[in-house]
Symmetry: C2
DNA sequence: CGGTTACTTGATCGAGCTCAATTAGTGTGG
DNA sequence: CCACACTAATTGAGCTCGATCAAGTAACCG
């Protein structure tokens, strides 16, 4: 770590915002090269993180947003009686830590699910930069607004939808998000456990398992542990009569 | 409307941000007099609105946030199968319209529940002002962050809590919010119908009604149609083992 | 008044939870 | 390489909370 300055520099260069393939999804959406360079200057890039590691925990002094370059995170909070409540998953190109924007500390935790590479965007510097770059300020509010719309979509899901509709909606959301990222919309690996899925969707783990089995029987999915192949996208879509047409797929 | 210029001016003066009793809750929280005057200049004040009127509907081009001075609003969206999903209620001192920050249009509707007076904060002017007033920019993100935290609290409620816990949590939230506004924490009128409450909490209207009856039997509440008196606050609190300790009470 | 809407109360039923047992991966150490 | 432990996931059986269906009551309004 003390040797090889050059290697580190090369690495830094390679992962600058300009060369990142996530620009369409991440903060610098629609930015010019000059603007992106300025943003680039404030971004802190961490070493890849391992499963189980935390970006932050509830109560931690909040200091930054985090952009996921690769891997996957889950957001959750802990209820007073010690239960975990999964709030969402953050996939490449998406941001987490927005609940830290108010109150000076995070109200949720963010945990790494699979080896992930993450960019850190310090609030203070971000705010300062917003004054220079009106586009960034707009984009910040845009991203935060998407988060709100997405949360509202989840409220609808939990309030009104059956177990089957919830899982279908969840799978479609993952599919859409992976597809945006340039990956297959029909074949992907779940980065999270059944436990996490059930918790997130407000269902018992057994219900999730049974639904996967049922979808498989009906030739809608092929499921092998965490490997998912969507065989009948239309059937899934048919189950989801959502309001905010798949806005769930945005920064969650 | 064509006569009486003076009267209008007097009215305008009276309802300036400086004289508003909501400063502690609304956007200008922690602002100096000068800053508040600038904010004041961009605020549009509408005539009082009547029950049933809409501030906006899903799909409307989004142009502003709205701050409620008095009265109450409900936010909701419509699912594809025509059902209504209530997303939240906006009480005095709180903002609505944040889901319009992304995508150029509102994804939800905002409807007046009881005669309300509302301030309109145009996005464009708000953004411009953020450059002048770093405090405002911070406060904007703060308010939006609170919205996110609050939505996350609802996710937990709908995902994990029983009908009883949901209604208890809802009543405590109202109590807290009215109390902040200087009103009684124990006696208030519900601005919304049982229908709206049930819809919001993901419960059937009959369940809500039965719970009110049950709470009354147990001397926790006194309920007369929409008049609520909380008799045993501790019992209510005991039912709520929430994570983000009553952050639900913030701008919803 | 009669009609409409908001709310309450009762009776029944089922989606999904809970409890419990089984199976399939994933290391770990000898 | 295999036995062992441990966790993740599946599958089965019964039960419960809250939804649904249905009927009745109370406020409101022209």
């Amino acid at each position: 770590m003390t040797n090889k300055k050059k290697t580190v520099n090369l690495h830094e260069l390679k992962v600058s915002c300009q060369n990142c393939t996530l620009t369409d999804l991440c903060l610098p959406h629609g930015m010019g090269t000059e603007e992106m360079k300025k943003l680039d200057a404030i971004v802190i890039r961490q070493q890849p993180l391992q499963p189980g590691q935390h970006l932050f925990r509830p109560g931690d002094k909040s200091h930054a947003l985090f952009a996921v370059r690769s891997g996957a995170l889950k957001s959750y909070c802990i209820t007073q009686d010690g239960e975990e409540q999964v709030l969402g998953f953050t996939l490449p190109g998406e941001l987490t830590g927005m609940d830290g924007l108010s109150g000076g500390c995070y109200s949720s935790a963010s945990m790494v699910l699979e080896t992930s590479s993450v960019c850190e965007l310090p609030f203070g510097k971000l705010e300062g930069l917003c004054n220079d770059l009106p586009g960034l300020q707009k984009q910040m509010l845009n991203v935060v607004g998407r988060e709100i719309t997405s949360d509202q979509h989840m409220l609808m899901l939990l309030g009104k939808r059956t177990a089957e509709e919830r899982l279908a909606s969840f799978l479609l959301s993952l599919s859409t998000r992976y597809h945006k990222r340039g990956l297959s919309a029909t074949e992907f690996n779940l980065p999270m456990s059944r436990q996490d899925i059930g918790n997130y969707l407000g269902l018992a783990i057994e219900t999730v398992s049974r639904l996967f089995a049922s979808f498989q029987e009906r030739r809608i999915l092929s499921v092998n542990r965490r490997q998912i192949v969507i065989l009948d996208m239309d059937s899934l879509r048919g189950m989801v009569e959502a309001c905010v047409k798949q806005s769930m797929g945005s920064a969650m």
